[in-house]
């Protein structure tokens, strides 16, 4: 029962962060700020949801379920290495192709 509460909390938090990511991606004014929301929120929400799933999988603790949980953690570790790299690559691509950052005082022109 306690495990279920932990799982629901983790997954719900993950969904909350992903909701924030979505709002950021839709509402932020320019590419760099949107990428900020996407890069951070996406990674943390994936982390929390996958952690919840891995814990839920340990309901019937045995060697095989532990192995599956370790595999889910491997996905998590992969995300932790790959997602920031991908974010860096996308930001770099935008910077190289000269996207102008958004300035507050130019709001009327933009």
């Amino acid at each position: 029962m306690l495990l279920n509460i932990v799982v629901i909390t983790l997954t719900g938090l993950g969904l909350f962060f992903f909701l924030a990511t979505t709002v950021g991606i839709l509402r932020f004014p320019d590419f760099y700020t949107r990428m900020h929301a996407a890069g951070k929120g996406d990674t943390i929400s994936s982390l929390l949801i996958l952690l919840g799933l891995a814990l839920y999988n340990l309901h019937h603790l045995s060697l095989s379920t532990a192995l599956v949980s370790i595999k889910i953690m491997m996905i998590l570790v992969f995300f932790f290495m790959a997602s920031p790299t991908a974010t860096h690559a996308i930001i770099d691509a935008g910077y190289e192709s000269q996207i102008e950052p958004w300035h507050n005082d130019e709001e009327e022109q933009a």
Partner: protein, 337 residues
């Protein structure tokens, strides 16, 4: 199958497909097509076709998007508006698509209900595969058993088709003069991005081990030769993207690739010929137990399936690398994506 997911994914897919053909920028179209393939993979998983989903994840979402990007990189990205004198084409397209849709909608009334267990497709041959495959081949993954044992002849020629496709790309693009394969490992050429390089160099060995696991574990979980081969090829594509085409070609030269592509098909058909020589039919693996010590005919089939999968994986890997290197460099093998 999960009803609610199915409807959502299908709606998602129709939106994606509509926008793929509407986007005016070819790179954008390639990216939206990648998203379409991601969703396609989810659809297969949700319908229970895990092996198909694995293949789609590796091929559709990964490699074919990279191939589209490579082709757009070597050609143009622009879609020009059509000139006036060819306008009737649009009407022809609409009429043909409408006709096809009308005929198929009319025919869909006669289709069996979706997910009906007693539909004709699931009643004649497939119950035999489901109930007997484990006893016949001792392979729990029914898709692997049917792929590499019952329908082995078909799979042999599918592998040959991939081999021929790779050869065709090589013949179409590889006509230009090439530098000989002495290029070596050049870490300084091309655009340098330390973060991407370090991360890909750290990840690639683990990805390759995972790909080998996929090839070897295809008997018990989704996976097998096609999926593992594509994943192995994709790791080399990642190296070629994050470092340099020459770095990959220094390790996997074109000659080596061609040799490997041949070896895979040869391994597959060699197992078939071996069973022919031992007195059974072509690709009838159960006779191989006379060669393998302390195995019965059933386990021999399981071992031979592994051998066949390895052959498929080698060919698919070599052909994926061959297509990528030729396509991204325009056949010159000098500068890639």
């Amino acid at each position: 199958m999960i009803w609610s997911f199915d409807l959502l994914i299908l709606l998602f897919m129709v939106i994606c497909a509509f926008f793929v053909i509407q986007v005016k920028d070819l790179l954008g179209a390639a990216i939206v097509f990648g998203v379409y393939s991601f969703l396609m993979c989810l659809l297969w998983t949700e319908m229970g076709a895990v092996d198909v989903a694995f293949t789609e994840a590796a091929v559709g979402a990964g490699v074919s998007t990279v191939l589209f990007i490579a082709a757009v990189h070597r050609s143009s990205r622009q879609v020009k508006p059509r000139k006036r004198w060819r306008r009737p084409n649009k009407a022809v397209g609409l009429i043909a698509a409408g006709l096809l849709g009308g005929v198929l909608f009319y025919a869909s009334v006669d289709f069996p209900d979706w997910a009906d267990p007693s539909s004709p497709a699931s009643t004649h041959l497939s119950p035999y595969f489901i109930t007997e495959a484990l006893a016949d081949t001792s392979v729990p993954n029914l898709v692997t058993a049917v792929l590499a044992d019952y329908r082995s002849f078909d799979t042999l020629f599918e592998t040959a088709v991939i081999f021929v496709a790779g050869m065709a790309v090589f013949m179409i693009l590889g006509q230009k003069t090439k530098e000989s394969a002495q290029v070596g490992i050049d870490l300084t050429g091309g655009y340098e991005d330390t973060i991407i390089r370090v991360v890909s160099r750290a990840l690639v060995p683990f990805m390759q081990i995972f790909a080998l696991y996929v090839v070897g574990h295809g008997h018990h979980s989704p996976g097998g030769g096609f999926q593992g081969g594509v994943l192995l090829g994709a790791t080399f594509v990642l190296l070629a993207i994050s470092f340099d085409l020459k770095m990959v070609l220094g390790r996997m030269s074109e000659k080596k690739n061609l040799l490997l592509a041949n070896t895979g098909v040869l391994l597959y058909s060699g197992i078939g010929v071996l069973s022919l020589l031992l007195g059974a039919n072509f690709l009838d693996y159960s006779i191989l137990h006379t060669l393998l010590p302390s195995t019965g005919p059933v386990v021999a089939r399981s071992h031979a399936i592994l051998g066949v999968e390895i052959g498929v994986a080698i060919t698919v890997m070599a052909i994926i690398i061959l297509i990528y290197t030729n396509l991204s460099s325009g056949g010159t093998n000098e500068k890639g994506l």
